[in-house]
């Protein structure tokens, strides 16, 4: 498998505060997640389906060993990958009406049944507000990426981030307050 050799150095640079490497890091992860999804779906055959959670786990399992012992911990990888996954999902939703589904890989929801689909424009508004939240209080934005965009449970997120499940739930509630207020205020302008 051709894993981008500079993934580790890119993550290290971003961790040290070199934000100029952030786009390169996300592009690299984005390409890797797309490639993993396409390969996994080809292996699975029809019907094509792959949950975001499965894709992230698969990506970590495949990438981590090849990056050597100094690869950042699973939580940081998942944080970056979850944000990249958000980009994948947004891109997919935006383009879904313009694309034929045959031959395209498709990310499906986690097994849980959901009551309502999110409106495309609402999804874009949520993502924009989430970018702002990531600047103001990054851990809250990461919780939303992992839960809303990737479908992880609070227990999974707590284990991933080394926090209690109660803390994960409280951070989720705070993030919802921020995003709800931000989206409503933008709509009123």
């Amino acid at each position: 498998m051709d894993v981008q050799p500079n993934l580790l150095s890119l993550i290290d640079s971003v961790e040290r505060g070199d934000t100029s490497c952030a786009n390169a890091l996300f592009s690299t992860l984005y390409a890797e997640l797309r490639r993993l999804a396409a390969r996994e779906l080809a292996r699975q055959g029809v019907p094509l389906s792959l949950s975001p959670t499965t894709l992230l786990h698969q990506a970590y399992i495949e990438i981590a060993p090849r990056e050597g012992p100094s690869f950042p911990d699973r939580a940081r990888f998942m944080g970056y990958a979850a944000r990249v996954m958000r980009g994948l999902i947004i891109d997919h939703v935006r383009s879904r009406h313009a694309q034929k589904r045959g031959g395209q890989f498709e990310i499906t929801s986690a097994p849980t049944d959901f009551e309502h689909a999110v409106d495309d424009r609402e999804l874009t508004r949520i993502s924009g507000a989430l970018d702002e939240l990531a600047e103001v209080e990054p851990p809250l934005a990461q919780i939303v990426d992992l839960r809303f965009f990737c479908g992880f449970t609070f227990a999974e997120i707590a284990a991933m981030k080394g926090i209690s499940e109660r803390t994960a739930q409280r951070q989720w509630e705070k993030a919802r307050i921020y995003l709800h207020r931000k989206i409503r205020s933008d709509l009123e302008v």
Binding site: S109, A110, V118, G151, Y178
Partner: protein, 71 residues
């Protein structure tokens, strides 16, 4: 509804943590005490708690996942 600027959020965030940790029946007493300590912040914090009640009633982000839009 006015959006909070980043600095306002950073100031309020630890207090929001404190009040969200409390059961509903203990929040009024905490808020009463908070009003005497930080009269400059209490009204905005009350607004955020009201926002929380509204979004909970709306099931904001809870009744769906982004990925359900992919079907």
């Amino acid at each position: 509804m006015a959006a909070l600027n980043p600095e306002q959020w950073r100031v309020l965030s630890p207090f929001l943590d404190q009040v969200l940790c409390l059961p509903e029946n203990e929040r009024q007493a905490w808020l009463h005490s908070f009003r005497t300590q930080r009269p400059d912040l209490v009204d905005t914090l009350l607004q955020l708690l009201e926002n929380h009640r509204e979004l909970s009633a709306d099931h904001f982000l809870n009744s769906c996942r982004a990925t359900s839009s992919l079907h």
